[in-house]
Symmetry: C2
Subunit: 132 residues, 2 copies
DNA sequence: CGCAGTTGTACATTGTATGCATACAATAGG
DNA sequence: CCTATTGTATGCATACAATGTACAACTGCG
């Protein structure tokens, strides 16, 4: 059984739905390649205990990721990471990223994060993506 | 009275709350400097009609932006853009941006957007921020 | 083969949030 | 003043999030 991704943290006080935080966090972990195809994710009950939520909440998250093609879910067996092939991007997906990125930056600026720090982080991530 | 920001678009079909879409979109507009301090934003009722939602929904968005220090709200007078001073950033704000950025990228990759396209958009925005 | 344990799933319940309708309060401008 | 305009408050219908509980499918050991 694979370990629990340590980078996964959720905020129960956040207005953002917990199951969505789990989806978003796990998706980042999967994209980062922390798990190989064939690896087992924690069971819904195990991860639920670790995060302090109900197992149905985790199950809902796993279902979203399965729908996206990241996971194979089966009773008694658990959640297995799949060898995923990227779909064709819609124009909405491409434009959506740009808008969301601007909105994310605007929020950070509103929170007082210096623009230089934002530029640095984006440049660093862009560089990492380019190396692939 | 100032014009309506044309870049503001909302999606009633999205699971994302409409009032939050308005907040996020308007915040990006304000950060971009489309409005000067002292400018009037559309009235809650006017913007509500333009977007096809109830004026209370817009009012809720304006209240959030007022709380963030972007707007001054008064009955009979409308919403006036303030000369805002950036607050001290919390460590949570700084770390939060990095995590959210990774999650946003992961979602785009899941949707099939090429990594090169993501890197390009981030590099472009980083450059624009640096020039300020 | 059987059977106990494990794992994901289905469904009902409860609390909360979203968006709207409606009425109200404060201000502007004649 | 008085009326129109603007943001605000309250109550409601509805939908969603998270949970409690029971169930179905699969594993693995005897």
């Amino acid at each position: 059984m694979a370990n629990n991704p340590r980078t996964l943290r959720i905020d129960l006080a956040s207005p953002r739905p917990v199951y969505e935080q789990i989806v978003s966090g796990l998706r980042a972990v999967l994209v980062a390649g922390e798990f190989e195809p064939g690896d087992q994710l924690p069971t819904v009950r195990q991860l639920a205990v670790d995060l302090g939520v109900h197992h149905n909440t985790v199950a809902e998250s796993y279902r979203v990721l399965a729908e996206e093609g990241w996971l194979d879910l089966r009773r008694g067996r658990g959640a297995v990471v799949l060898d995923r092939r990227d779909p064709r991007p819609t124009t909405e997906a491409k434009q959506g990223f740009g808008r969301r990125l601007e909105e994310l930056v605007a929020k950070a600026i509103t929170d007082g994060v210096p623009r230089s720090a934002l530029a640095d982080q984006m440049a660093a991530l862009a560089k990492k993506l380019g190396k692939t």
